[in-house]
């Protein structure tokens, strides 16, 4: 069997994604559309939250993806540091803006939801706070990539930042919980304390989660392809200059 690491070869990666990308893209569009249309048009209002419950179909998937993308970047960074496969470093680079956008969506939908539910746009609740800190980590990570000219140095430095940052992100999470017991929902998919969520909500919610995951994968593949091309272009340009 071919080793998994073969896909870390840029050329092999490009060949594979050539046919994979359109499939994933279409899957992402279809699943997300289905999930969101289902959620938006075909669910009834919650008896306490009214129509705002429909925000859940955006909020929860984006918040989850924001966290998952960071984890994916962590793994990719480790792969780069240990096995030095360029594609994984470039994939981490391409993932960061998607993670940032997901974080932003989570923040915005949460804020818009908070206004009717808690009577405020924003609260210094631990989950919200650590989410905001995650936003800052994404910003810092992207800014560091942007600031460094040499691609390998950039990959090394951002990878170390991602590792150290992850440790501190976890620490911040616990610090924030310690600091303030908040308003936000617990981790069980429950709308109000005690009530379990109905399948009428769960089914479209799961669809949306899968959809957002696919959206991420599609964007990630496209972004990584671009980064690989940009990397090669940079190498060629330097090479041309030398000749």
């Amino acid at each position: 069997m071919a080793s998994f690491w073969e896909y870390a070869n840029p050329l092999k990666f490009m060949r594979t994604t050539d046919w994979l990308l359109p499939i994933v893209t279409w899957a992402a569009v279809i699943v997300t559309t289905v999930g969101l249309v289902w959620g938006f048009f075909f669910t009834s209002d919650d008896f306490r939250q009214g129509s705002t419950v429909k925000i859940i179909f955006l909020h929860v998937p984006s918040a989850m993806m924001a966290i998952n993308i960071w984890v994916m970047m962590l793994v990719a960074s480790l792969v780069w540091l240990i096995r030095r496969h360029h594609v994984s470093a470039l994939a981490a680079k391409a993932a960061a803006p998607i993670g940032l956008t997901m974080t932003l969506i989570g923040l915005i939908t949460g804020a818009v939801w908070g206004q009717p539910m808690w009577g405020t746009w924003w609260a210094w609740d631990p989950r919200l706070t650590s989410f905001l800190i995650l936003f800052l980590f994404y910003l810092g990570y992207i800014a560091l990539w942007a600031a460094i000219d040499d691609p390998d140095t950039g990959a090394d430095l951002t990878a170390v930042l991602c590792l150290v940052g992850s440790v501190f992100a976890v620490l911040s999470r616990y610090a924030a919980i310690f600091w303030n017991q908040g308003l936000h929902q617990g981790a069980s998919l429950s709308l109000a304390p005690g009530t379990r969520m109905d399948w009428a909500y769960k089914a479209p919610l799961y669809t949306c989660m899968v959809g957002f995951g696919l959206v991420f994968v599609a964007l990630l593949l496209a972004g990584t392809r671009t980064e690989i091309r940009a990397r090669r272009m940079k190498a060629l340009v330097t090479r041309e200059r030398m000749a």
Binding site: P10, L11, H86, D150, P151, R231, R232, K234, A235, M242
Partner: protein, 207 residues
Amino acid sequence: MGLRVTDLSCARGGLPLLEGVSFSLEAGQALVLRGPNGCGKTTLLRTVAGLQPALAGQVDLPPEAIAYAAHADGIKSTLSVAENLAFWAAIYGTSSFEEALDRMNLRALAGRAAQNLSAGQKRRLGLARLLVTGRPLWVLDEPTVSLDTASVALFGDVVRRHLQAGGMALIATHIDLGLPEAEILDLASYKARLPEIGAGTFDEAFL
């Protein structure tokens, strides 16, 4: 103990510059590197000094035996000349910097803050640091920039005494150092040739 560089390739900014550079230095020898601007002298010296990894080939003297002096001299402008030298002497664990002061003709400036030195005086201070390292191989990047004729001669003497005491020197320069005994290596002939690759096929190194 000597320096043996075999088949060294080095890169700058992700791009191979030199390839297949081999030479060796025995105790008491000096080698002068020459080559046009931008051919990779600085890059080669940094690789030998262990500051950047080689693309291929090896340098079989450990970095612990090498004293490197670049364009920037590592001089703290608010410390005096003597304080600057004393610091490096302490870092290298050699006790005395007095002799270095005398040999680089810095005695009269010893108490002066480094920021008040002229370009050439600063350079002399940077070179005096070499004397306190106590290391056998000196790796020097254009050491005589800004020096007047008398100081170049002084520096030539210092290098000669270092060689006589069993030291080695690897020097990149564009001008004549007054070291006729040194061998000369022209780097122009080691220019790296990139492997030719057709469009659309790229591997790990993207080239």
